[in-house]
């Protein structure tokens, strides 16, 4: 059962559904009755992508699944790449595949955007990423898709000892949207940071799923996801950390914190730690709550209208995650995204 297979064979019955444990909160089969026609060629969008303010060394554009298929960095190479996956698609479907290889000591800043220029499309994007020894990847992803799209993005990332992965995903959801990251973590001083921010409204849905498998000793994983749901939106967080036998001295922590801003909104959180090694430090924290009434009154008592006070607190809530982005220029883009997405809204946000 996978989206890729369903797309290839154009058989909607192969889409994952709530009967698949890993997809129980994101039922694609219920959302897609028939696989839409394949997407046409598409055209390069005139508007710049969300990372346009940053001078990248290279820009890669994949439109409706067509574009470059490999990105390789040589030993010690340092590169900043703007990667735009564009869906110029109306009620059609497509799949994108990209392989990224970082040779030892290479450093890639990947500014990745998934931009829906059309409507009601079904898209799937798969990244296969390999980091050689001492390589590092800073991946910042903005998902900017229409509220009627169905989109699944997966990344399968394999690290070598001494490698580093720092990932932040920012999303406002879609009709159904899944952003899945699978990491094979060798330990040996390799480090992983997996972060996310979601800001959902209307009937949007997003599913942030991570599976980190520690296979060797001495690895660290640090995860922080925060988000807010209003109207009738729904966010899913599934975070799994597996520590396999022999992966001693693993240090892993996972946090997921959410604000529910409407009675009709929903959060489904499933943190899972599976530990089969000794001498391991693992922790997870998961909280769901409402905005702090005391803080709201304090802000309003200074003259700020209630709607604006709410937006201020919601943005502040997400800002902790964005503050962990190391590159300043990238952090600023993420802050601007949060200010824009956190401020708008119909029910007083």
């Amino acid at each position: 059962m996978s989206v890729s297979e369903a797309l290839k064979s154009r058989d909607a019955s192969l889409l994952p559904s709530r009967r698949d444990e890993a997809w129980r909160y994101t039922d694609l089969r219920a959302a897609v009755r028939t696989i839409p026609e394949p997407s046409p060629l598409g055209t390069v969008p005139a508007a710049p992508g969300p990372f346009a303010a940053i001078k990248a060394d290279r820009a890669l554009v994949i439109i409706n699944g067509r574009g470059p298929e490999v990105l390789s960095l040589d030993t010690g190479q340092v590169l900043c790449v703007e990667l735009r996956l564009v869906a110029d698609s109306h009620a059609t479907s497509h799949q994108s595949d990209l392989r990224i290889d970082l040779a030892s000591g290479a450093h890639l800043t990947l500014l990745e955007s998934h931009e829906g220029r059309g409507a009601a499309y079904l898209s799937s994007a798969n990244l296969i990423v390999h980091l050689a020894e001492g390589a590092s990847l800073e991946r910042v992803v903005i998902l900017d898709e229409p509220s009627d799209a169905v989109s699944v993005i997966t990344a399968d990332i394999t690290l070598s000892p001494g490698a580093s992965l720092k990932q932040t995903v920012l999303t406002r959801g879609a009709s159904r949207q899944r952003f899945e990251t699978q990491v094979t973590h060798p330990g040996g001083g390799a480090s992983v940071r997996l972060d996310g921010v979601y800001m959902l409204a209307d009937k949007c849905h997003t599913d942030l799923t991570t599976i980190v498998t520690h296979v060797g000793p001495g690895g660290t994983t640090d995860q922080l996801t925060k988000g807010a749901v209003r109207d009738a939106s729904r966010a899913v967080f599934q975070g799994q950390i597996q520590v396999q036998p022999g992966a001693d001295q693993t240090d892993a922590r996972m946090g997921h914190h959410a604000l529910i801003l409407s009675d009709r909104a929903e959060i489904d959180a499933k943190p899972e730690l599976e530990i089969f090694a000794d001498d391991v430090s693992c922790a997870h924290g998961n909280t769901v709550g409402a905005l702090d009434e005391d803080a709201l009154f304090y802000i309003c008592s200074r003259g700020v209208p209630l709607d604006q006070a709410r937006a201020m607190l919601v943005q502040a809530f997400g800002l902790e995650v964005i503050g962990r982005i190391e590159t300043e220029a990238v952090r600023e883009v993420a802050q601007a995204w949060l200010a824009e997405v956190g401020a708008g809204g119909s029910d007083g946000l």
């Binding site: 803080a295 009154f297 304090y298 008592s301 200074r302 700020v304 201020m312 502040a316 902790e320």
Partner: protein, 249 residues
């Protein structure tokens, strides 16, 4: 200026204020003193417009305008400022950004133009220097990780920046050492003017050595049970609140 008449307020169905009346003209500083549980914080929260404080009867107005009909932010735009006993931490919002947002929201509500960044920064630097607040502190998220004294100084700084017409100081002395108390009091005294009124709510007389009131009121059992000149505060210091608590019962 501030006029409160026969105010009855219930919180969670329990009546806390039971017919409180108070008149504070422009240019005067009045102190409200009272034992724990007398309704001091209820009075300040009700005047500032906090939700959950249900006014069952009575009235409160500022310059003749009905405060109780306004939302909290509208009261602020009309010139009311409450300095909190326990100022809240607002993570992620730099103090200066917060104050500028508040100031511009107030100005917009009053139909005034927004203040520009250069004029705002100039004012902020002047006021920060007066209150011995390091300018770098103003770039940090509001009150996050600040000490009790720093939070209170930040309240006075906000007050100075927003330049309200009427100030309510709720237990401003709590958690302050003598040096901080002096700096905060000087900040408050600098704001005294013939156009401005102040309500100083306190449990202890100590604060009134620094912020000298024109009138002192004793709040007990949800209403004002005695009023007098500054000497009333000194008298309370000697005799305690007991006789007033009995009078109110």
């Amino acid at each position: 200026m501030l006029s409160v008449s026969n105010l009855h307020v219930a919180v969670g169905g329990t009546e806390i204020l039971k017919g409180l009346s108070l008149e504070i003209p422009a240019g005067e500083v009045h102190a409200v003193m009272g034992p724990n549980g007398a309704g001091k914080s209820t009075l300040s929260y009700t005047l500032a417009g906090r939700q959950g404080y249900e006014v069952t009867s009575g009235s409160a107005s500022l310059n003749g305008e009905d405060l109780l009909a306004m939302a909290a932010n509208e009261r602020a735009a009309k010139g009311l400022f409450l300095s909190f006993q326990y100022p809240l931490e607002i993570p992620g919002v730099p103090s200066l950004t917060f104050i500028r947002t508040a100031l511009n929201a107030q100005r917009k509500a009053r139909g005034e133009d927004e203040i520009g960044a250069p004029a705002f920064l100039k004012l902020a630097r002047e006021q920060a220097a007066k209150l011995k607040i390091e300018f770098d502190m103003l770039k940090r998220p509001l009150n996050v990780g600040f000490s009790g004294g720093e939070k209170k100084r930040m309240e006075i700084f906000q007050m100075a920046m927003l330049s309200p017409q009427f100030l309510i100081l709720d237990e401003t002395d709590s958690g302050l050492d003598i040096d901080a108390l002096r700096i905060v009091s000087e900040g408050v005294n600098a704001l005294r003017s013939p156009e401005r009124g102040m309500l100083v709510i306190t449990h202890y007389q100590r604060l009134l050595d620094y912020i000298k009131p024109d009138r002192v009121h004793v709040l007990a059992g949800g209403k004002i049970v005695a009023s007098g000149g500054p000497e009333l505060a000194l008298e309370l210091e000697d005799t305690g609140y007991d006789r007033f608590a009995q009078a109110a019962a």
